[in-house]
Amino acid sequence: MPEYTRLIHNYLRHDKKFPHVWCPGCGNGILLGSLIRAIDKTGLSKDDIVLVSGIGCSGRLPVYVDFNTLHTTHGRALTYATGVKLAKPSLNVITIMGDGDSMAIGGNHFIHAARRNIDITAIILNNSIYGMTGGQYSPTTPYGMRASTAVYNSIEQAFKISELAVTAGAVFVGRQTVYNAKLLDNLIEKAILKKGFSVVEVVTHCHVQYGRQNKLGSAVDMLKWQRDNSIPVEKAAKMSPEELKDKIITGILVDKDLPVYEEEYEKVRERAKGLA
């Protein structure tokens, strides 16, 4: 055990099998580090955090960290998280989902959780493919890209997760790449502290499935692509849609305040008690 990475190691469950299950160079590991650093910066105690995940590569993430954790069924992370939050509103609930998890099977849960504005932080790892199950195309696989279920390339348009979250009514929406890990730390920290439904879209790479099928190279090559194609939202505002094609717009897309569901629900309870 290296003594010097104590901050990260303080939060890991050392009785689990390490090194973790993800492929060499996987962005999920970088996000895990970012998440731990962000939570550490917020100053919240381990017992105040609930980490909920669905199925997929991202589903393994809560296994490794020493918070209250819940590993649920495919696409249902937000539904379990809603239950946890309403039962114990004092807890800080964070969900970790993949792009398939949150946009395909859990797509409906996602838009309604955003609309309802329940105080949950939804972290979505977008690697544009179903990695764990064998590289099938997902709702975020870009048009024209190859997947094992789209060997003649995908003919569908991809979901833009952050833009969808904005439209669905999330009060805080941000996007960042795993390449910019330090900025990702800051973004996650802000999202956790934000009251209401906050979404962080983490653009990551799957060099083993998506990268190999589309000949995009190694994890390093895909991280370089992220570096070269990220555009801060302030700069993107001055650019044309043509210039922004295939670019990753990073930063905070929305930060607003709306009534939070569990507080409104508490008011309803009070009103109902008054009538009884």
Binding site: T5, R6, F18, A219
Partner: protein, 96 residues
Amino acid sequence: MAKVAKQAKEGKTTKTTKRRKTVAIDVYKAWCKGCGICVAFCPKGVLAQDEEGHAYAKNLEACIACMQCELRCPDFAITVITEDRLNAGKGGSAHG
């Protein structure tokens, strides 16, 4: 190191420079999967991969303790040990 010496000669030695001095770069081989991310994104070319793919400090003197390798290591296998971290007695944090 040469840079620090030069700055010292010119009387420019700041607390920051001294504090940032890297003593060692620790790679926990049991966790390192040899993905090469730390090697590729080191701005000073300090790191290299051995025959098994594990990272090691080939040119420690060039290290500016920017901590980019620590930040991006998906496996928490690499640690930059600086003087201030040693002096603090707590080993420092994983993000500097």
